[in-house]
């Protein structure tokens, strides 16, 4: 995605999460761009939408998303192959070169579909070379040919990142996805292998781990088809050492890896080395698997690490986390995460943007704790994808454990509109604990009679000074009232 597209995406995301109208100032400060750019972006988004205006504007109120159209337009992401952005074009060229590495490709053939000038090609090469540096790979240009050279492991890592950037969420979408230039038979074969693993182990491999294992196997097959078997030197050396260390309870995983690689060997008619079994085994043990029996025993490291996250986060978020089920849940995530870190396996988090925006403060705190964790346990740095996953665990803890807001409902008599309102609010707002329903004349007694009250929802205007937040609503409890109450709840949560 180009930076403009990313910004547009962020704008839409922000509007979708903040129902009602947002002003251009708000949007500008959220996205760290000027108001002028906001206007221009909204114009572009609306003009580019086939559904009509996605973003509605109203004088004095700002902008809001037409939710139905937004959802509609998100469904139609299929696109013509001819209009790739420069970044996408470079991505595809790089992917092709990676898959054929170390073979050299003819430049004019490589760029045949894109109709661009030599200068643009030259520029592309510079940028591709730059992004290959992070994988320790080199782009080699020799007269009319170009190739990528480097270690096999690094090449596969680069391809993995590239594939995962496509944001595939459902592994079954791969079957019919025309945007990806995948070999259809290979795709079906691998999906079948993954199913076999799941069956054998009586587990389900969930998103995003299924995608991760898929890409791993797909890359292996593609590499062998295009350039024959390439050995991963680093992993080959480790093989024997690791084989001894496979724990008793992981035998089943190892056997699943073994038979999958055996199947692939037959499928490709190439004898695959043991290191590939180990590699796949590492992938499997790096995936969180859902099975009927959740693992309840963990190594010391996993236990300590999980506890460290829980302690540090509860300190930072100012909540108490003392639940066995939360510990188990998190530990079941941390165990494979630890394996990912140790074996250099990266799982793309396609929700990362959304997580960072929605749970910004939790995310920032998770990053802090993660830094501490990698230092304490001498682990490789915990990347943003992993921090994003962890953020979700804590966001969920907060959302399910958030203490309800002690609320009083008030009307003139305490038996009229307030009772009516109580029923309506009870149904819609589980965040509120309705302590009592009172008459207006009892207002002054609230602090004494109901200590800890945080909110008064009233159908009559409060004329006197009360040190408690209050919200005037109509007895009809309209949509507008609901929205205002929702905002009030947010305000109270944020103030805690």
């Amino acid at each position: 995605m180009s930076s403009k597209q990313i910004r547009e995406q962020k704008l839409l995301l922000f509007l979708s999460e903040n129902p009602g109208y947002s002003t251009s100032e708000e949007l500008a400060s959220q996205l760290a761009i000027s108001r002028k750019t906001v206007y221009r972006m909204i114009k572009d988004i609306n003009e580019g939408s086939s559904e009509g205006d996605l973003i509605l504007s109203e004088k004095g109120r700002g902008y809001a998303l037409d939710y139905e159209k937004y959802i509609q337009s998100n469904k139609e992401v299929s696109r013509k192959t001819s209009d790739f952005t420069p970044a996408e074009r470079r991505g595809r060229i790089m992917e092709e070169l990676l898959l054929y590495s170390p073979k050299a490709r003819n430049v004019s053939e490589l760029y045949a579909d894109y109709f661009i000038s030599e200068t643009v090609i030259f520029n592309d090469e510079q940028l591709i070379a730059d992004s290959l540096k992070q994988y320790n790979l080199n782009l080699v240009r020799k007269s009319r040919t170009v190739s990528i050279t480097g270690e096999e492991e690094d090449i596969r890592r680069a391809i993995t990142d590239r594939i995962q950037r496509m944001n595939i969420v459902n592994v079954n979408d791969l079957k019919n996805n025309k945007d990806l230039n995948f070999n259809h038979y290979d795709v079906l074969y691998i999906l079948d292998q993954i199913k076999t693993i799941e069956k054998k182990l009586d587990i389900t491999i969930h998103y995003p781990y299924d995608i991760n294992i898929f890409s791993h196997l797909y890359i292996l097959i593609s590499r062998i088809r295009k350039v024959g078997l390439k050995h991963i030197t680093g992993r080959e050396l480790e093989t024997e050492f690791i084989e001894d260390k496979i724990q008793q309870n992981d035998q089943a995983l190892y056997q699943a890896a073994e038979s999958t690689i055996q199947n692939l060997s037959n499928y490709l008619t190439v004898e695959l080395p043991k290191s590939e079994m180990i590699y796949l085994y590492q992938y499997l043990m790096s995936s969180r698997m859902g099975s009927s029996t959740t693992i309840a025993t963990f190594s010391n490291t996993v236990t300590e690490l999980t506890q460290l996250y829980l302690n540090e986060m509860s300190k930072r978020l100012n909540i108490t986390i003392q639940s066995e089920s939360i510990f188990l849940d998190l530990a079941n995530h941390i165990k494979p995460m630890l394996n990912r870190l140790r074996h250099g396996i990266r799982v793309k988090n396609s929700l990362l943007d959304q997580i960072q925006m929605t749970y910004q403060s939790i995310y920032d705190q998770v990053v802090e704790v993660s830094d501490e964790v990698s230092e304490t346990f001498s682990l490789p740095a915990i990347n943003e994808d992993e921090n994003g996953f962890l953020t979700l665990y804590f966001a969920r803890i907060i959302e399910t454990n958030q203490l309800p807001i002690r609320t009083i409902i008030m009307c003139t008599t305490g038996v009229g509109t307030s009772e009516l309102l109580k029923v309506k609010i009870d149904k819609k707002f589980p965040e509120l604990e309705i302590v009592d329903v009172i008459a207006y004349r009892d207002l002054r007694e609230i602090s004494r009679n109901y200590p800890g009250t945080e909110l008064i929802v009233t159908t009559i205007r409060i004329e006197e000074d009360v040190p408690i937040k209050s919200l005037l609503v109509s007895a009809m409890f309209t949509e507008d009232d609901k929205n205002r109450l929702q905002n009030k709840i947010k305000e109270i949560y944020n103030g805690r």
């Binding site: 009307c411 003139t412 008599t413 305490g414 038996v415 009229g416 509109t417 009772e419 009516l420 109580k422 029923v423 309506k424 329903v437 008459a439 004349r441 009233t458 159908t459 009559i460 205007r461 004329e463 005037l472 109509s474 007895a475 009809m476």
Partner: protein, 132 residues
């Protein structure tokens, strides 16, 4: 339970809010006649009494009342309530005596809770049975 706690009157020939108050005070209330309009006025300045389309729930607690009662009055034709509420088909009026017992309060709030149920409101709008 006091038989006169809840009083339902259907298709009453009244044409305005003032007539409604007059009617309730003169013919329905067990206690002596009262200036209901004056009693209600202050309440309504501070918040709308509309609880659903064409339904209002004026309610007041006052020391001048010596009995708590609920009146459900359906005018023959829609009446105008105030500047904001132009069309009213059903008036549910709650008069609460000051220092009322908890039992009576409970009885009344059980009734108001039912008003959150659309089906119950619909029943009140349509029924020809003067029972609740």
């Amino acid at each position: 339970m006091d038989a006169n706690r809840f009083i339902v009157k259907l298709d009453v020939p009244i044409h305005s809010r003032a007539e409604l108050f007059q009617y309730v005070s003169d013919t329905l209330m067990d206690a002596e006649q009262l200036d209901l309009a004056g009693l209600m006025a202050e309440r309504e300045e501070n918040g709308s009494v509309e609880i659903a389309e064409e339904i209002v729930l004026p309610h007041v607690e006052s020391g001048v009342l010596d009995k708590s009662q609920v009146f459900i009055v359906r005018p023959e034709k829609k009446i105008t309530w105030d500047e904001q509420i132009k069309q009213v088909r059903l008036v549910i009026m709650i008069l609460l005596r000051k220092e009322e017992t908890d039992d009576v309060k409970r009885e009344i709030s059980q009734f108001t809770r039912k008003l959150a149920d659309e089906a119950f409101l619909e029943y009140l709008m349509e029924t020809d049975q003067p029972e609740i």
